[in-house]
C-alpha cells in the first residue's frame, strides 16, 4: 500500500438523510458501484481526499526509485541489471500515470511535488528504510510490491474512474515485479552460497515489519477509514488487507526456507488465518513524522533533482516557445 493515513477532513460520516440533494445523488451512485468521473459533481472533501491519496501514491512510486537506484549500478549480472532497470522505468511510468489521474481532479503536479519537498505531503513509510544488500532488491520486489498489490488489487474497484483504471494497469506490472523479486530470492536461496542465503534472511529480517506497516495503522487507530470506505475510495480496512498479505506471504516465506522475525507468527486453524505479533507502532509514527532512517536523504535527493533540473526544464520551455514563434512567423 502506497498511501497511509490519508486525511479525509471529515469528522463523521453523514447519513443519506443529512445530505444535500447533490451529495445524496453522489452517494447513491457510489453505493450502486457507478464510477465517478472527472466531470461529475463530487463533494469537495472527496476530491481533496483523492488528491491526497493519489499524490501520495505517485510520490511513493518516485521516492521508491531511490532505494533501487542505490543498487542499480551494482546489479550482479546483466539479466538482473536489465530487470531492475525495467522495474525502475515502470515505476517512473506509474508515477506519471498517477500524477495524470490526480490532475483530472484539478490538482497541479508541480504544486503537489512541492508539497512533497517541503515535507507537507507524505509517501509510503517503507521507502524511508535503507537497502543494504543486493538481497534487498529481491525482498523489496517480493514484500513491498507484494504488499502494494494486495492494496491495489482492491483499489481497481475504487470509486473514482481514472484512479481505478490506473490501478488496473499498474497492478499488472507490479505482479510481474513481485514474481521477479521472489525469483531473485529463490535463486539466492536454492543456488547460492551460505553468504547469499544469510543476505536473504537478513533482508527479510529488516524489511518484514516495515512491509507490514505499509498497510497503515490498525483499524481502531485509523480515523479516516470510515469516510474513505463510505466513498469507496478505500474498499477494505487496513487490518483486513494486512491479514491477507500475511496469509499469502507466509507460505512463500516457507518455500524460500526463510523465517520471519516474529516469534508470534503461527497458523490459527480456528480463525483460518495466521496470528502475528504486535507491530511497533511507535516506530511507524516516527517514520511517518519524518524521523525514519532515510527520510531526510530521500526528500533531499528528490528536492535536489528538481532544483538542479530547473534550468533544463526552463530551457525546454524556452526552446519550444521560440519554435512556436518561428512557425507562426
Amino acid at each position: 500500500m502506497y498511501a497511509q493515513l490519508v486525511e479525509t477532513g471529515v469528522k463523521r460520516v453523514k447519513s443519506l438523510d443529512e445530505m444535500s440533494p447533490e451529495e445524496r445523488n453522489f452517494q447513491e451512485k457510489i453505493d450502486a458501484e457507478i464510477k465517478i468521473e472527472a466531470k461529475n459533481w463530487m463533494p469537495e472533501a472527496y476530491r481533496q481526499t483523492l488528491i491526497r491519496q493519489i499524490s501520495q501514491h505517485a510520490h511513493s512510486e518516485i521516492v521508491g526509485m531511490l532505494p533501487e537506484g542505490n543498487w542499480v549500478t551494482r546489479a550482479p549480472s546483466l539479466k538482473r541489471k536489465l530487470q531492475l532497470m525495467a522495474k525502475i522505468q515502470d515505476e517512473a511510468g506509474h508515477g506519471l500515470y498517477l500524477y495524470s489521474a490526480m490532475e483530472t481532479l484539478g490538482a497541479d503536479r508541480d504544486e503537489e511535488v512541492a508539497k512533497l519537498h517541503s515535507g507537507k505531503a507524505k509517501y509510503s513509510s517503507i521507502f524511508n528504510y535503507p537497502t543494504l544488500s543486493w538481497a534487498d532488491m529481491g525482498a523489496v520486489g517480493w514484500l513491498v510490491d507484494g504488499a502494494a498489490i494486495v492494496n491495489q488489487v482492491v483499489l481497481q474497484r475504487t470509486s473514482y474512474g481514472p484512479y481505478s483504471r490506473a490501478m488496473i494497469r499498474i497492478c499488472k506490472e507490479e505482479s510481474f515485479h513481485q514474481r521477479q523479486g521472489y525469483e531473485l530470492l529463490l535463486t539466492m536461496m536454492r543456488e547460492g552460497t551460505q553468504a547469499q542465503k544469510d543476505m536473504v534472511q537478513d533482508a527479510i529480517n529488516r524489511l518484514w515489519w516495515p512491509a507490514l506497516m505499509m498497510f497503515g495503522p490498525s483499524d481502531e487507530h485509523s480515523p479516516n477509514s470510515a469516510q474513505s470506505m463510505a466513498w469507496k475510495i478505500k474498499r477494505q480496512t487496513n487490518d483486513e488487507l494486512r491479514q491477507r498479505f500475511i496469509d499469502q506471504t507466509v507460505p512463500q516465506l516457507e518455500l524460500l526456507g526463510c523465517t520471519a522475525p516474529d516469534p508470534d507468527l503461527k497458523w490459527n486453524a480456528e480463525r483460518g488465518h495466521y496470528d502475528f505479533g504486535e507491530i511497533q507502532w511507535d516506530e511507524f509514527y516516527e517514520v511517518i513524522k519524518g524521523n525514519g532512517p532515510c527520510n531526510q536523504e530521500r526528500v533531499a535527493t528528490r528536492r535536489k533533482a528538481i532544483e538542479d533540473g530547473a534550468w533544463v526544464r526552463e530551457a525546454a520551455v524556452a526552446y519550444a516557445r521560440k519554435q512556436q514563434n518561428k512557425n507562426a512567423a
Binding site: I62, M65, L66, E68, G69, V72, T73, R74, A75, P76, S77, L78, K79, R80, K81, L82, M85, A86, I88, Q89, A92, G93, G95, L96, Y99, W134, L184, T187, M188, E191, G192, T193, A195, Q196, T301, R302, K304, A305, I306, D308, G309, A310, W311, V312, R313, E314, A315, A316, V317, A318, Y319, A320, K322
Partner: protein
C-alpha cells in the same frame, strides 16, 4: 578473416553500450524531470540489452568458458574496449546529453553499416539495435537543440560541455586496422564512412542552433580500443563489478 578477429570489434560495441548504460543508471532518481527519469532509464535499458547481445557473441567466439556476465563483471579495465567518451562522468545534464548525442550519432552510423554485415549474427543484432538507437539519436539531438537554443544559462552550459568531451571524439571518426580489415571483408562498418556520417549529423544539429563546431579532435594519447582508458573507468567498474568480485562463487 578468422572469426577470432571479430572479438575486439564485438567488445568495442558491447563495452561501449554497457558503459554508457551504466552511466545512465547513475541518473536514477536525479533526473531533471519525471519524463526524463523514464527516458534515461529506457535508453539505458536498450543499451545494456544490446551489450548483452554483443558480449554473448564475443563469449561464444572466445570459447574459453567465460560468458557475457563474466566478460562484463570480471574483466579488468585494461581489457575493456569501450570508447573513452562513454566512460566520462555524467557532469550536468548538458554534459550528459552532449555525450549521449555524440555517442548516438556514432552508434547509429555504425549500426546502419552493420545491418548489411555479411556476418548474419551481427546483422541481426544490429537490425534490432538500430531501431532503438534511431530513437536515442532523435531524442539526444533534440536535447542538444533545446539546451543550445533554450536559455542563456542552458546555452552557456552547452558551450562548456562540448569542449569538455570533444577531445574524446577522435575515436569516433577513426577505427583500428582490425576494423578497416573487417570492413573490407564486409563484416564491420567502414570507420571512414562512419566518421563522415557522424560529422555530418553533428554538424547539422549544432548548426541548427548555432552551436560552434570545434575543429576535429586530434590524436589523443589514450585509446579505448587498446584498453588505454581515462581514470574514470576503473572507479566505474569498481562499483559495477563489486558483487561478482566480492562473491566469486555466488549465483545470482
Amino acid at each position: 578473416m578468422h572469426k577470432h578477429d571479430l572479438i575486439p570489434y564485438l567488445l568495442l560495441l558491447g563495452d561501449s553500450a554497457l558503459i554508457q548504460g551504466q552511466r545512465l543508471c547513475e541518473w536514477c532518481g536525479h533526473a531533471p524531470a519525471l519524463e526524463e527519469e523514464l527516458a534515461l532509464m529506457n535508453v539505458g535499458l536498450d543499451l545494456v540489452g544490446q551489450a548483452r547481445n554483443w558480449l554473448e557473441y564475443a563469449a561464444e567466439l572466445l570459447d574459453d568458458g567465460r560468458d557475457a556476465d563474466v566478460l562484463a563483471f570480471r574483466r579488468d579495465e585494461r581489457a575493456f574496449r569501450n570508447l573513452l567518451l562513454v566512460e566520462q562522468p555524467n557532469g550536468d545534464f548538458a554534459v550528459t546529453m552532449t555525450k549521449q548525442f555524440l555517442y548516438d550519432a556514432w552508434h547509429q552510423a555504425v549500426l546502419q553499416g552493420l545491418v548489411e554485415s555479411s556476418d548474419e549474427r551481427i546483422a541481426g543484432i544490429a537490425a534490432k539495435a538500430l531501431k532503438e538507437v534511431t530513437y536515442h539519436l532523435r531524442r539526444s539531438a533534440e536535447w542538444v537543440q533545446r539546451l543550445g537554443g533554450g536559455t542563456d544559462e542552458s546555452r552557456r552550459r552547452m558551450l562548456e560541455a562540448i569542449p569538455a568531451v570533444w577531445r574524446f571524439t577522435v575515436e569516433l571518426s577513426a577505427g583500428s586496422d582490425n576494423e578497416v580489415q573487417l570492413a573490407q571483408a564486409g563484416i564491420a562498418a567502414a570507420p571512414a564512412a562512419v566518421g563522415a556520417a557522424w560529422l555530418k549529423q553533428v554538424s547539422a544539429t549544432f548548426e541548427s542552433v548555432e552551436l560552434p563546431l570545434p575543429k576535429a579532435a586530434s590524436h589523443f594519447y589514450l585509446n579505448g580500443r587498446q584498453g588505454l582508458h581515462t581514470e574514470h573507468l576503473g572507479l566505474l567498474l569498481a562499483e559495477m563489478q563489486f558483487l561478482p568480485r566480492a562473491y566469486p562463487d555466488a549465483t545470482w
